[in-house]
């Protein structure tokens, strides 16, 4: 273990490197460009023995990743925002073909208007693609989750691709102290990838990527859903435990902070969690019963863990850094679904926050808290989906 001061992109590139990928197809895009830059440096310096394919688009990056993974290789890449959107078609194909490709995504807003800054719209829009989804709060998590993602995705019970989200600039370009495991330690943790389900070899000719008629298509999807919904949750827990044992850092699908007696629990993903934690400390010092739940794994959706973590709160405030136009925040909608069959339902309020790199500040969580206090008082939220720190009156003339 060595302490390094590195940016988020270096953390994901280093994490990927330590996993000894065979093939890395990549295409540059802000804010993830540093990933292929670092990879090409490792290769140029003889530190990494991988095939680096400089493709002509993100669509081809994911296509080449699929070709390489289907041949039997460990494959990794990185992208963001519009790049992930261009890959979108191929994301479904990677997971449908059960290819455990591991990808870092610098979470960035989507056009239009074009914007290079942080929000979660890119990966959120890809949450139905059959990829495991992890969200990092810090650079340390970005590195650790990258390595764990290989172990989880490649597990024979799972065999699914995974993306590790890290917030644009807030993490991708910000230096933090990161404990980096040694090559020996990672080799001990992660065995070589030796697929037996599919690989292209003239000695064993098989047909990969068949045409699936209505007689078989649902069974393919069903098998994939078993891997995602039933197997992956177990494998994630096992891997998190194994990681803690090997490296001393604890991971959970959802992590609670000050929730025990909390009337209000705020839910976050990614880097805004640190800001929220600071706000909670301040609010607690002022005697307010507020807690925080951070979601690290969004797919498979940790329904059971979320229910346990949020039980007991009067109001749950979900801070979404993305938007399903016409139905509020996506994470708010998913968390609401967890309680739909419960006899005792908390009030679940959605807050849209920090889109396109709008700063998320301690005071924003104080605002959220006071809105939730008003809800407790009146028994009904003023707005079920609320926007934080947006100047919409001059734009539309309404409120």
């Amino acid at each position: 273990m060595t302490k390094m001061v590195i940016r988020g992109n270096e953390a994901t590139a280093l994490g990927a490197k330590l996993c000894r990928p065979h093939v890395i197809p990549a295409y540059p895009i802000t804010p993830s460009t540093m990933f292929p830059e670092k990879i090409s440096e490792y290769i140029a310096d003889g530190e990494l023995d991988s095939q680096f394919v400089l493709v002509e688009s993100e669509h081809s990056a994911m296509s080449a990743a699929i070709g390489a993974s289907a041949t039997g290789c460990r494959v990794t890449t990185a992208t963001a925002s519009q790049g992930l959107e261009l890959m979108h078609e191929m994301l479904f194909i990677a997971s449908g073909m059960r290819l455990p490709i591991i990808m870092a995504v610098g979470n960035r807003a989507l056009s239009a208007p074009i914007n290079i800054w942080c929000d979660h719209q890119d990966t959120i829009s890809a949450r139905d693609c059959g990829w495991l989804q992890f969200y990092a709060e810090r650079n340390q998590e970005a590195l650790d989750l990258m390595i764990m993602a290989f172990k989880i995705g490649e597990d024979k019970r799972v065999l699914l691709p995974a993306m590790v989200g890290l917030d644009a600039f807030v993490l991708t370009h910000t230096m933090e102290v990161v404990d980096t495991p040694s090559q020996d330690e990672v080799d001990k943790f992660l065995p070589p990838y030796k697929p037996t389900h599919i690989y292209l070899d003239p000695k064993r000719p098989i047909t990969i990527g068949s045409f699936g008629t209505p007689e078989v298509y649902m069974e393919f999807r069903f098998a994939q859903d078993i891997a995602m919904s039933k197997e992956a949750p177990k494998v994630i827990d096992e891997t998190f435990k194994e990681w803690e044992k090997a490296f001393g850092r604890k991971y959970q699908k959802v992590t609670s902070f000050e929730t025990k007696d909390a009337d209000i629990i705020i839910v976050t993903m990614g880097s805004m969690t640190g800001t929220a934690r600071e706000a909670i400390r301040k609010l607690r010092a002022a005697g307010k019963k507020v807690g925080l739940v951070k979601i690290t794994v969004l797919r498979p959706f940790p329904e059971k863990e979320i229910k346990e973590a949020l039980a007991g709160a009067k109001v749950i405030a979900v801070a979404d850094r993305s938007l399903s136009l016409g139905h509020g925040g996506p994470v708010w909608a998913e968390i609401s679904s967890v309680f739909v069959n419960e006899a005792k339902k908390p009030i679940i309020q959605g807050f849209i926050i920090g889109l396109g790199g709008r700063d998320v500040l301690v005071k924003d969580f104080e605002t959220i808290t006071s809105k939730c206090e008003a809800t407790i008082k009146s028994g009904k939220p003023e707005k079920l989906v609320d926007w934080i720190n947006v100047n919409y009156e001059p734009l539309t003339g309404v409120n």
């Binding site: 070709g67 191929m90 194909i93």
Partner: protein, 301 residues
């Protein structure tokens, strides 16, 4: 006419019967010929299209070699990944790595991925099976469709002559990428086709073979006339069989099968109902003949 004889490498059929290709499908015939020439030590990355749909309905497969399909526009990119993977695994030596796609998946939607793969000089042998329209979706015009052809998206009418564009010269565009080997071929001249496939395999890639593959369903000719249409295309000069080795130098293009006396294009056109609306339009027929004459002149005959 001259044709070199050429032995088939594989004693075993590598693309087998039982697939769902239409009766008289030129593409299925071409695929069988390409693989018999290449042999068992081959891998195919296939684009979406007739070939993929007709040959791989799960759990059946017509392929006796390793085969992978991902999507429509990316056969060249998927093959690029396979190429890199084989190198990484130390299994690249001796493997013929093919990308197979139709004309829609090559001239149009797959053009960027093709150009990228060629630019990266990856050892992929890209074979386009050209039946001159989006046949899998039911005969829609693409940039390979010849002038005047009737398709479901270029119907002739009061204000339409049929397809208004002229066929994109894909092999010449690929040749301009300065790659080691580019050739055109067609199924009626199987020895020529096999020789070209084997040359591409020997060179390794990037190589590009444009295979002209008549489609009875889309061209509306008899299913027993597929080979005849392929032959007529060459005999009239509609499709020129040529090859170029060693990089981009148009002066080094070799025409490999030269018709002794070129037949008039009308013989080719009148045999296919996709051109039947042109038969009472002498000015259009003359334009098509003039275009073919100009092309043949460019190729030196």
């Amino acid at each position: 006419m001259q044709e070199q004889s050429c032995k088939v490498v594989s004693p075993k059929e590598l693309f087998v019967s039982g697939h769902r290709g239409c009766a008289g499908c030129g593409e299925m015939n071409a695929v069988r010929q390409v693989l018999l020439a290449a042999g068992e030590n081959s891998i195919v990355a296939n684009a979406t299209g007739c070939l993929e749909v007709a040959s791989t309905a799960y759990p059946q497969s017509a392929w006796n070699i390793p085969w992978v399909h991902a999507a429509f526009e990316n056969a060249a990119a998927v093959a690029s990944g396979v190429d890199a993977a084989l190198i990484a695994l130390g299994r690249r030596e001796g493997v013929n790595l093919f990308a197979f796609a139709g004309d829609g998946g090559t001239f149009d939607i797959g053009f960027q991925a093709l150009s990228g793969m060629l630019d990266r000089r990856q050892k992929v042998i890209y074979v386009v099976f050209d039946n001159e329209a989006y046949m899998n979706t039911g005969i829609q015009r693409c940039s390979s469709t010849p002038y005047g052809a009737s398709t479901t998206t270029s119907p002739p009418g009061k204000k339409s002559i049929g397809s208004s564009g002229s066929k994109k010269p894909i092999a010449s565009i690929v040749a301009a990428h300065d790659i080691p080997y580019v050739a055109t071929a067609t199924i009626a001249y199987h020895a020529d086709l096999k020789r070209k496939v084997q040359k591409a395999c020997k060179i390794g890639g990037p190589a590009f073979i444009h295979v002209f593959a008549p489609c009875p369903t889309g061209w509306r000719h008899g299913s027993e006339d597929t080979i005849e249409m392929s032959r007529l295309a060459v005999e009239t000069g509609v499709f020129v069989l040529w090859e170029l080795e060693g990089g981009y130098d148009p002066s080094k293009i070799t025409v490999t099968v030269k018709p002794k006396e070129r037949k008039p294009v009308i013989e080719y056109l009148k045999a296919q109902r996709r051109f039947s609306h042109l038969m009472d339009k002498p000015a259009e027929l003359k334009k098509i003949q003039d275009d073919v004459d100009a092309k043949c002149k460019m190729f030196g005959f």
